[in-house]
Amino acid sequence: MPGGGALEIKIDPLDQIHDRAVFDCGHDPITNFCRHRAFEEHADYDVRVFVAVKPGDARVLGFYSLTIRHIKGGGRLANIPAIYLSMIGVCAGSQCKKIGTRLMDDAFERCVRVSEDVGAHYLWLTAINDRTRQYYQGLGFTPFRNNDMRMRINLQTLRASEPV
């Protein structure tokens, strides 16, 4: 049993067996995505969705989704290949149990792994408010420009952060 109030969870690719109906993270766009669109987009490979569940329990406690979204400089400049963390959320009743930490870590690990096979230089995301923006900044995400909610982190930085 993990310590510090942490729940024992596993993180799996989204499947039909997962129960998303009661998921509510307190932010409607993320809640609605999880409940209504996540499976379709996952099955269509528009995004890939990974869910946190307790072993033996199909209820989704948290999830994140990834897709490929390049960074464009405009003009004749080439695109920079990048991975987009399009959604991440933890069920309101399961917050403060380190599920978000596990999901972020799993996303980082996955992005680094993917970039070994498919070229990508950055992971980027769009913070939903100032509080999450500050949280991501603490982790090393940098806004594309001042006050931009879109933020990126270099995959080499994530690679260097892996525990030995």
Binding site: P2, R69, K72, R102, M104, G140, F144, Q156, T157
Partner: protein
């Protein structure tokens, strides 16, 4: 009515459009990536500890 297989707009941006100066900054950063912050290292360590079976 014409049938269509076009998917509805799903709200995910197609790409991140950035200014030329930001783009050049990103190109430079590719070659010289920032070191992980202490908070990032802590997150990775915490998650690694949680993954280990008791």
């Amino acid at each position: 009515m014409v049938a269509t297989t076009k998917k509805p707009n799903r709200g995910t941006p197609k790409s991140a459009k950035v200014s030329m100066s930001t783009f050049r900054e990103l190109l430079k950063e590719r070659a010289n990536p920032p070191k992980p912050t202490e908070k990032l290292l802590q997150l990775r360590r915490t998650a690694a500890a949680l993954r280990k079976p008791a």
